[in-house]
Symmetry: C2
Subunit: 406 residues, 2 copies
């Protein structure tokens, strides 16, 4: 008998019929002799509806009230699921954030979990109940409702699994696992049976949106095995886990891409200390996340600075940088929205030489020009013209033989 | 400077635009130098929508889950109002049942308030905040969400006013006060400036649906002055308060009617001890509320028993009574759904003789036959054929000169 945490996303609980399907799967797990803790998102679209409602009340809604409003979405799904399970003859109890309780800090809309009280849910499990917990929400030490940010239910699930020392956590979603690349772009994409936490983190930061990044960080810290599975099939999914010897054999596990970036070049900047700070500080002050940064070799004490930012922030960047560039004496600013970031990820890179050169050669073979490069221990990213995105993904998938491994 | 509790019903907060109007009225009260505690219902129709959702999940939804589900309706309106007030430049904080906290017993869907913690709301008021409390909901001593039954927000408001020792409680609704009779039936109906708690209770039990009965009972016990006012006008409304000398001058304050009753006669029952109990116990076991009961004078040790029940329960009564009447040897059971109850209410009746005979004479003058009569200290009710309802109301309104008094 195992203790299993199952998390179902918004598309899996989009209406009563789908919640019934979820209930059937939960009952199956329960009947197999397991203790089950379920974590739910709001019905697909409901959180957006509530956000719009908030925005029609105020263009700058108070965050405390905003959190209390949008947390009703999960309150609806957990109570409905508990009703359905009870109707099917199973004892089930819903737990809201304050009831569980999921204690967080006071950072409304992006709160971080600081502790989970396991007393009440453990009592319920001992009495044979299925525990149905509202994802996404928590409570601060004064009883105010907080939320964990978009995709926060993944984090709720992993944190609950860690706190309850669950055997594993299953994340049921609308895809059936983690693929070597996006199957919509390349039909040779292959579902991975296993992937490391580190690789999953790099995939997420490189644009793959299977799991919320923080949930993977938590899973890594507490070594919670996480299965990414489809709620619409019985497929085994992908296990996200710590590195083992098998995994080192694979140099590259996946190819991913991010179309939501834009490239900015500040041309002919005086190359002296403090320039980078003067350029990037006003951006970070506005919560604009700068990703890749490249500085050209200095010529005659002048240099060019190139970096990427989320494409949605490009107008705001323009306003800020036009002001700053004048102050620091830059010659010009160039903006390029027609770019994509293509990345390869794999723990095996650490111990295999020549991965980068194989990547560059593969792109060159198709005449794809590399505009920027950045590397981490287990990831190499290249910025290319956006029209080459799909082609780059396919050629890299082939170059590292991802179709056949695993 | 006063402490004022204002309660707004579902039609007053039906959408963002209406919530803005509510906010404007609250700000007006606040700007006049008062401390304001607001109690809100869910948006009109929302509670029904949530109930339907529950029923589509289970035909017998677990009550604990049902309460947690439907309480989201008020959670939405209080957070939206708090956002709007903040946007207008006023500090405002929403309080859910568990945050306030409104402690109730464990009777889900019809919980009774057993205590209210005033610490947090008083702290908020001291800091100049407008307190926005979710009506209808409470919390039991284990943190489970409870609800107070239909119209429960009135009770929330009066209970909060009593706990905070507010100067008075204003109930904003879609009518602008309590009338001498239903203005839809008689255009000579006159709005009352004042009415006693006792009269209000009798009016509510006789079919007038302005305030939830329990809220009036609470107001009476804690002597909370309650104003019934329209949220769409600036009219002063009706004050529900304790009896004073002025009021005794008026014999009758109002005429009301109830079309939702049906009459049942059990014919030729042996007139011996225990018969009434055998007849009415199975009805009360099914939560069927028997209102008026009349037993004819016994003839040859046999009698007829006539009583009224809510019309919606008539089929259930039939099933129960057909079984019982056989056991007790009754000759027949007669059902009559074509009846109405017409009542006059007034504290002045206690000290004025001849009110009943004036009522009977007035009905007789229009040829309206009285089928049943029941009296209390401050109310006389007559059952008449339902086709005479409006006529009876008008003739009684005229007979007691209600158009001109006050």
């Amino acid at each position: 008998m195992a203790l299993i945490v199952q998390k179902y996303g918004g598309t899996s609980v989009a209406n009563i019929e789908k919640i019934r399907n979820v209930a059937a799967r939960i009952v199956e797990t329960k009947e197999a002799g397991n203790d089950v803790v379920v974590v739910l998102s709001a019905m697909a679209g409901e959180t957006d509806r509530l956000i719009q409602l908030a925005q029609s009340a105020s263009d700058t809604p108070v965050e405390r009230e905003f959190d209390a409003l949008i947390s009703t979405g999960e309150q609806v799904t957990v109570t409905l699921l508990a009703m359905i399970l009870n109707k099917m003859g199973y004892k089930a109890t819903s737990f809201l954030g304050y009831q569980f309780k999921i204690l967080t800090d006071k950072s409304h809309t992006k709160a971080r979990i600081i502790g989970i009280d396991t007393q009440k849910p453990m009592d319920a499990l001992k009495k044979g109940h299925i525990v149905v917990a509202a994802g996404f929400q928590g409570v601060d030490n004064e009883g105010n409702i907080t939320t964990l940010g978009r995709g926060g239910s993944d984090t709720s699930a992993v944190a609950i699994a860690a706190a309850l020392k669950a055997d594993y956590c299953e994340i049921f979603t609308d895809v059936d696992g983690v693929y070597t690349t996006d199957p919509n772009i390349y039909d040779k994409a292959r579902k991975l049976k296993k992937i490391t936490y580190e690789e999953m983190l790099e995939l997420a930061s490189a644009g793959a949106k299977v799991l919320q990044q923080r949930s993977v960080e938590l899973a890594k810290i507490y070594e919670v095995p996480v299965y990414v599975r489809s709620s619409f099939t019985n497929d085994g999914g992908t296990l996200v886990t710590k590195e083992d010897k098998d995994m080192e054999k694979e140099t590259v596990s996946g190819v991913t891409y991010d179309r939501d970036q834009a490239k900015i070049t500040v041309v002919h900047v005086p190359d002296k200390p403090g320039i980078a700070a003067r350029l990037f500080t006003p951006l970070s002050d506005q919560n604009i996340v700068v990703d890749m940064i490249i500085q050209n070799a200095s010529v005659d004490a002048y240099t060019d600075l190139t970096f990427t930012v989320p494409r949605k922030d490009i107008r705001q960047c323009q306003a800020i940088l036009e002001k700053v560039s004048e102050e620091i004496g830059a010659e010009a600013i160039q903006f390029d929205e027609n770019i994509s970031k293509v990345s390869i990820v794999g723990v095996g890179m650490k111990s295999h030489a020549g991965v980068a050169s194989r990547m560059f050669a593969a792109l060159a073979s198709e005449g794809i020009n590399i505009l920027m490069i950045s590397t981490s221990e287990i990831k190499i990213s290249c910025v290319v013209e956006s029209k080459y995105t799909e082609l780059a993904v396919r050629v890299l998938h082939d170059a590292f033989g991802l179709e056949h491994k695993g």
